[in-house]
């Protein structure tokens, strides 16, 4: 019963945002896949968004929710750019592995 009353406060939002940020970083570092990396960044964004909204709700300030809307719009754009880069990279290298991502210029086999 005490756990339930704790969950009625702000703690579940903290736990979820921590889980989301953890999930984002873990997928980025552990899975070593470019496609997953782009998605992982979005998940970390979401965790931060949830923190902003929680603070805004419990402090009674609408600016936090405004930040969430702006971040949503920006992350949509950055996600599109990320996907374009991944598709282009796959066409050049025929691989999605993050470990083979050492190419900065166009020359490689010399």
């Amino acid at each position: 019963m005490e756990v339930i009353s704790l969950f009625a406060k702000e703690y579940p939002f903290y736990i979820t945002s921590a889980v989301l940020i953890f999930l984002g970083i873990a997928l980025l570092l552990l899975k070593r896949n470019l496609l997953m990396a782009v998605l992982a960044l979005e998940i970390a964004f979401n965790g931060i968004n949830l923190l902003f909204a929680t603070a805004s709700h419990y402090l009674g300030d609408p600016k936090g929710k405004m930040v969430v809307l702006l971040v949503l719009a920006i992350s949509a754009g950055s996600f599109a750019i990320g996907l374009i880069l991944v598709v282009n990279y796959y066409r050049a290298k025929q691989s999605l592995s993050l470990e083979e991502l050492r190419l900065l210029g166009e020359k490689e086999n010399e």
Partner: protein
């Protein structure tokens, strides 16, 4: 209050469950589906924070636009690229430790940083208040946002321009 606590408990349980499933699955498509479910559940979290508009936007923009874009991109790749081999998974599980440390530190600093006046304020999300702030005090962010959102279109243009050039050669 009991209903709120119970529902949030169940929701957090679901999110944790999906979080573990994300690491168990070995196909990107299934991982993607669990992440999609997490995103939709996040919309319900926003409902509990009295932010109905953000909840709707979360589902419409994230689940409806961004993740569908990702799904379309997944189908561009061959099937064997979308699976992980088993040995990669085994060697890297030890690196969960620093991440777990990070998570503990994060939660600790959060709980420590809670101000004393951190109580529920009965603040209801009002679009009119929000848009007044956004369009009067922070109008410059809207302009910056407009420029930023034109970047994907420019990137797409460059991408297809290069494709045309290499196609003609």
């Amino acid at each position: 209050m009991v209903e709120r606590g119970l529902l949030l408990f169940v929701l957090t349980f679901f999110v944790l469950f999906l979080f573990f499933l994300t690491f168990i699955f070995r196909q990107i498509l299934y991982q993607f589906l669990t992440i999609l479910l997490i995103m939709v559940l996040l919309g319900i979290y926003y409902l509990f924070l009295n932010a109905e508009f953000i909840a709707a936007i979360q589902v419409i923009v994230y689940a409806g636009a961004i993740l569908i874009m990702f799904l379309f991109t997944i189908f561009l790749f061959p099937e064997e690229e979308l699976k992980y081999s088993r040995d990669i998974l085994k060697t890297h599980y030890s690196s969960f430790l620093p991440l777990g440390f990070f998570l503990a530190l994060f939660l600790f600093s959060l709980f420590k940083a809670i101000p004393k006046s951190y109580k529920e304020q009965n603040f209801y999300f009002d679009l009119k208040i929000l848009s007044k702030i956004l369009f009067n005090d922070y109008w410059i962010t809207i302009y910056i946002l407009a420029f930023l959102l034109s970047l994907p279109m420019i990137a797409l243009y460059i991408f297809f321009k290069r494709e045309e050039r290499s196609g003609s050669n």
